[in-house]
Each structure stands twice: as C-alpha cells, then as structure tokens.
Symmetry: C2
Subunit: 270 residues, 2 copies
Amino acid sequence: MKPGSDPVYLVGAGPGAPDLLTLRAVRVLGKADIVFHDALVHPDTLALAPHAEKVDVGKRCGRYSTAQRFINKRLLDAAKRYRVVVRLKGGDPMLFGRAHEEIAFLKQEGVSVEVIPGVTAALAASAELGVSLTRRGISRSVVFATTRAAESEPPSRWAEAVAAADTAVLYMASKDAELVKDTLIRRGVSPEKPVAVAERVSLNSNVQFGALAELPRLTARCGDGPAVLLIGEVFARTRSQQERLSTAEADMLLQNLPALVAGSVSGPRL
Amino acid sequence: MKPGSDPVYLVGAGPGAPDLLTLRAVRVLGKADIVFHDALVHPDTLALAPHAEKVDVGKRCGRYSTAQRFINKRLLDAAKRYRVVVRLKGGDPMLFGRAHEEIAFLKQEGVSVEVIPGVTAALAASAELGVSLTRRGISRSVVFATTRAAESEPPSRWAEAVAAADTAVLYMASKDAELVKDTLIRRGVSPEKPVAVAERVSLNSNVQFGALAELPRLTARCGDGPAVLLIGEVFARTRSQQERLSTAEADMLLQNLPALVAGSVSGPRL
C-alpha cells in the first residue's frame, strides 16, 4: 500500500436507482482512481466516478463471474498503485456480498479497508411495496437469508430461520422458488402464507403478490433481473390492493392475448 | 389532500451520520415545507430542509414520546395544508418504525404515501465493525428483531428467530440484555457465542465485543445512546483484534484510573 493512501473503500451501491446511493458513497466515488464494480451497477452510478478506471468484476448468479481470489488479487494490486480504490457492490456490501473474503485478504496484506453501507434490496422492496417488514402485533422479526451455498459449505439453515422469523426476505433465490415452497410447506408453513416477489427493485420494478403455494408461478412471471422473495403475513393484500392487482393482471392478459390464444404464454389464473 | 400535492414522504434518515442519507432523501428534504422527525435525527440532517418547519415527534425508548394516533393526525392535517410533507425516521422507515400505522392511516384518508428507504443501524454497525453479517460457510441468514412489544401484542417470537438464524441483530434491546442472555442460553445457545454491542453507530460510536454470557456487562459499559446488540459467530474476534481491543480497554482503564481508585467506575476485566 502506498504511503498516504486512502483505505480501500467497500461501497454499497444500493438497490439499483442511482439516487438511492448515500452521500458518503457519492463523495468517495467522486475521488476514485479505480472502481471495481458488480455487473448490475447502474451506468449513472458509475458516472459518479468520472476520473476512475472502471473494472467490471461482475458476479451474477448463473452467468460469467470473476473468481473471488482473482478479485482479491486485483484489489491488492490496485491498492499498491492507486490512491483511491473503490469496490462497489450492489445493495449493502455486508449482506451476501462476500465482503468478508475481500476484507480479510486485504487486512492480511496490510491494506486497511473502510466500508460504506448501502440500502439493501429488502428495504428498497419494502419501500416500493409500501409494506413495512415489521408491524406491531404481526411481525417483530425479519430475516434476510439465501438458499445459495457453495458446494463446500455445510447445509444452510435458511429454512429453519425463515420459518422461525415473522417476516423473511430471500436473496438470490428466485431460481429456487420450487425448493423454497416445498421446503417451507414441509416445515409446517401454511401454503396460504402471503408472499411477494420483487424484481429489479427501484428500477422499472416488477412486483407479484400471492400465496406461498404459488411462489414458482410468481417467479416465472419475472424476467431474469435480480429479485427478492418476500414471505410473511405483512404481505397479505387488502381488498382494494387485490382489486388493483386484478386489473393489472387483466391488462397483462389482454396484452398477451394473441400469444395466449396461440398457447405460447400461460396467463395468470383469474 | 390539496390537489397537485406531493405524496407524504416517509423518509429514512439513516443511522445517524448525515452523509449516510440517500440522495433521494436529500432532494425531498430540500423541498420540504414541514418535517416531522424522530428525536434522534442529527441537526445537520434537519438543516438539509432549510425552508421547512421542523416538528419533533420524538419517539424514544423510555422517554417522552408522542402518541402514534396524534402523529397520524398531525401528518394528515399537514397533508391538507402543505405541499411537501416529510416524516423523517431514524434508520430505515420500514423497520421497527411503526410505518405501517402511518401509511394505513394516511391511505385510508385518501392521502398517498411514498417511502424512501434508508441505511438501517444493523448495516451501519456491520460496516463500522468491519464484520460482514453473512459469511460463506458461517452465516447464510441474518435476523433483525426486537424484544420490545406493546402490552396488547402476542408474545414475541424474537428468541425463536434469533436462535434459528446464523446472525442476529437486536434493536431497542440494550435495556433487555439480561433477558436476552438468559432466554437464549435457556434455548440452548452457547454462553460463549460471540456478541457485540454498538452504540451511536456512525456517530462517535462505542463498540464492545464479548460473549453472550457477558452481554449485560457489555451494555452496562454503554451510555444511553441508541444501540444494537449483535449476536453470531461472525463477531468472533481474531487474535489481532483481541490484542487491539485489549489496548483500547487498557487506555480506558488508564483514563478512568482516578475514578476506579475512588471506586465510582467499574473497570473492564483484563
């Protein structure tokens, strides 16, 4: 690490919309010499680092991803060469972002690290849905979990944690909707438990409400944008919300009518 | 609601430091006509709303707090009189903030609401401690819970959720440290489970590390600032961190030496 350098900054880019970045993150991006960023960071967010070299070390579920060891190595090399190095991660850097591996490696190499927190997708989804994750009398706990685990990892206790908490938000789990539904129902969670799926939260988002039993059908209606699965009584729809959504579903049905008639798209159950 | 008005904004003020506010929150504060804020919002954050009347509807554990019904009524009255009404809540508005009650009341009265998410204390604490709340191989779930419940509420399942998740963060629980320790140990959680207490996160913060069995002693070392209790293997200290903290503890001991000798302050166990 060059003398007089800043620490390496691990910065939360927030859920997607550039204006959900913190002021502290904006300030650090503004002075960055190099930014290593996730694949899903918005171009307008990257534009906040006008002088920086941008390096996409895109980690994205099911797509090309840079090996963690290689990212660690590049961060260390950059810390030796540049004054201000930023590692920009989607959402909050300390939730499901492998921040620990980067921090531990850099510290071991004598490079100090500063973490700038961000708005995580669960909270952005909650804001967008207008549904509080906690509610007096209904929810006094909310768990954030993932079904994803490395092959070398011990079996995750995600289902135990989700079943025990009043509200749950699952990250990187939309491809596991069938597993989530089956596992939770087998654990005694009601198939009628209200759920929501929120894709591309804060950016042209797509939200689906329903019951746990319908979860695979709801995720199938989403595209391949990043999504969170939300589970809990707080997501129960009021009558007026149900009516509003039925209209939205009817619109979708009408739009897709030619394809539906041709049998290439399966419509929502009305 | 006056025609042409903005919705009422429920805005997350973040954990304390004004520069952990989002750009979107700053923009809304800048045009606010009136801001109803929690007691703990930083003066520099309020200064971002230069034209607004500021109303402290301070809800703070164990102190004077404005009744929720009265806050709801004032928000509604303001929505009828002003163009831009902001309800500014510490942290993220949708976590332990009674946002549901305000949203439901306003919507029922025909007033629309927009929620702007914020950085919650758990994530700011994680950033400040440099400890990721999730870690591959150790933690694939993190629960945010509170021991607090209204008298009319059903008994909270907080302990069940905390015991089932790999990492846990308890809000508004520092006065319940004894209860948390006893309840979790009775549930089979190890007394050696690593914990941390983080007070006034992001602002002149005070962080204590230890084991679950020591939790009441750790919270007793904090002042009466807002604090989160963090529980989980991820908070285990490495040898170098332990050494560093021992030095910090030794410094504290030296600073307090006169009081310690006089018996008015209890020193840390070295």
